[in-house]
């Protein structure tokens, strides 16, 4: 049982299982996300591929915690990873690759591939791992329910303007909102306004916040993970992130 109370920008989460008190003092706004990422690249000299690798790897680990292989109901540990055109999609690709290494059977739907070579590399890596790519997303929702145990929503991230969701993504969101199988959203539920409590977009069962939770995660009632353990202490202090302590060498923590 999780008790949530909110107070200004602070969310207090108490887990009755562990009695661990996890206090998050900041939920990122879209602007703050962009600022921190710029700093990481410009001042800390992280590489974009490096960060995407870190995020994708951590996402995959979070998914294995939320849906261990043994818990999947279908005979094969299948899952569908739906990837959008920008960074969120690339994180999905890296996540799919690691899930493959973890013995899951991902299939990817990646309708609009980024022209950037950086992102194209991630596609090739998945292809060379023999991860199948769908050529279209069936609109008959039952096909998805029957084929996959879960859907990973890596369509739209904080970098996207939720008001201008173009095709094919608008149609995809309509389809995915109808699936009966669990959806896991990477960073933000696709279609939601990053700065407002989520309402119009995908309603996932599991949310994996990358680096720090976004404002749209306020009041999220499903399983919520924080993934990605790399943020320099200076940045954490500067933005007063007050991130929880990751246990041991884990890069994922359930909030």
């Amino acid at each position: 049982m999780i008790y949530l109370s909110s107070q200004a920008n602070t969310m207090h989460v108490m887990s009755s299982v562990s009695m661990r008190f996890v206090s998050l003092s900041v939920f990122y706004s879209k602007t703050e996300v962009a600022t921190v990422e710029t700093e990481l690249l410009r001042d800390y000299h992280f590489g974009q591929q490096q960060l995407i690798e870190i995020w994708g790897h951590a996402c995959a680990i979070a998914i294995t915690k939320a849906f261990p292989l043994s818990s999947l109901s279908k005979k094969q540990p299948t899952l569908l990873v739906v990837c959008g055109p920008e960074q969120n999609g690339s994180i999905g690709l890296v996540c799919a690759r690691h899930l493959r290494m973890f013995e899951y059977e991902p299939t990817i739907f990646y309708p609009k591939r980024s022209p950037q070579s950086l992102h194209q590399d991630f596609t090739v890596q998945c292809e060379k791992m023999d991860i199948p790519f769908l050529s279209y997303l069936p609109t008959e929702v039952q096909l998805l329910n029957d084929a996959y145990n879960l859907v990973i929503d890596a369509i739209l991230g904080p970098e996207t303007d939720h008001k201008e969701v173009k095709e094919p993504y608008a149609g995809m969101l309509v389809t995915l909102k109808q699936v009966k199988i669990p959806i896991v959203s990477v960073d933000v539920p696709s279609g939601c306004d990053v700065d407002e409590p989520a309402k119009d977009g995908i309603n996932p069962e599991v949310l994996i916040s990358l680096t720090a939770p976004k404002k749209c995660a306020t009041g999220f009632s499903g399983k919520h993970f924080l993934a990605g353990r790399f943020l320099p202490y200076d940045i954490q202090k500067k933005y007063e992130l007050n991130l929880p302590e990751f246990p041991g060498t884990e890069c994922v923590i359930e909030l």
Binding site: D43, Y44, H45, F46, G47, Q49, Q50, E53, I54, H57, A60, I61, T64, Q76, T78, M101, F102, E105, T107, Q120, D121, V124, Q125, E127, K128, M129, D130, P132, F133, L134, S135, Y136, P138, L143, D146, A147, Y148, R229, F230, P232, Y233, D234, F246, G248, T249
Partner: protein, 261 residues
């Protein structure tokens, strides 16, 4: 100067392989199932067959080349995973609470090649795991990647030493330029052991307590006599593993390291 030869050898990591893009409709799940069941059968066969393969130098280099050229992995991607493996192995072999000294200091000695880059990533993760790493990086390559990794460490307040620190412990033998390393309490090495031949080892070289083999062990690891031999770098595509018959063991769960001994 120090008279110490490059302490870390050539980095490994890199794989790539040809594969086909499959696009399908309708029967997606069935086709996926066929692909995956083929790989599962292979892995089952591997576990029944020989033990893990120990690579020669040439083979290790070919694998590296394939990872970059055919599989389109980037060095910084794989280096991040390799460095994370190293830090994880160190924390398994030498948990924070087991260390005698406080603060929990670790010296990371980085050579000029990719192995040194792995060390920089390792140092950064060790810092996040609560250790207090310091880095000795006497010869810094001009490549942007290594400069970036150095900056990432510096910005994490990881100190960079200008020279090898004195070691209190009296060395067993008086081999001047190696005595510093010998005197350290535990030495763990990534890749292959510095000053060892990749295939034949070296009885007079450093004898580490822990060896972290990245991607796959090298032949020199047959001469390893330390307590801990870990496999790290969990990114080898199944097809590449099959091609080179690496017979990699199954990593536990989502762990990025596997203890071999």
């Amino acid at each position: 100067m120090l008279g110490v030869r490059a302490l870390f050898g050539i980095g490994l990591l890199v794989t790539s392989r040809g594969g086909s893009v499959l696009t399908h409709t309708g029967a997606c799940a069935r086709i996926a199932s066929n692909i995956y069941s083929k790989d599962l059968t292979h892995r089952q066969a591997c576990t029944m067959a020989d033990t893990i393969k120990y690579l020669g130098q040439e083979e290790a280099q070919h694998i590296d080349e394939e990872l970059f050229d055919e599989y389109s992995f980037s060095v910084d991607q794989l280096m991040e995973l390799a460095g994370l493996s190293c830090a994880t192995a160190v924390s398994k072999g030498y948990p924070l609470q087991s260390l005698l000294k406080s603060p929990p200091r670790v010296l990371v000695i980085c050579g000029p090649g990719n192995n040194g880059g792995d060390g920089l990533v390792c140092a950064r993760h060790l810092k996040l795991f609560g250790y207090e790493p310091s880095v000795l990086y006497p010869k810094r390559p001009s490549k942007q990647l290594f400069q970036n990794l150095t900056t990432q460490c510096e910005k994490m307040d990881i100190s960079f030493l200008t020279e090898m620190p004195e070691v209190q412990h009296k060395p067993q033998r008086s081999i001047p330029h190696r005595s510093h390393c010998r005197g350290a309490r535990f030495i763990s090495h990534t890749g292959y052991i510095c000053s060892w031949d990749v295939e034949n080892g070296c009885p007079d070289g450093i004898q580490p307590d822990m060896l972290i083999s990245l991607t796959a062990p090298k032949k020199a690891a047959n001469h390893f006599k330390g307590r801990y031999h870990f496999l790290g770098g969990r990114f080898v595509p199944p097809a590449l593993e099959q091609k080179y018959q690496l017979n990699l063991p199954q990593y536990p769960g989502t762990d990025c390291v596997h203890q071999l001994n």
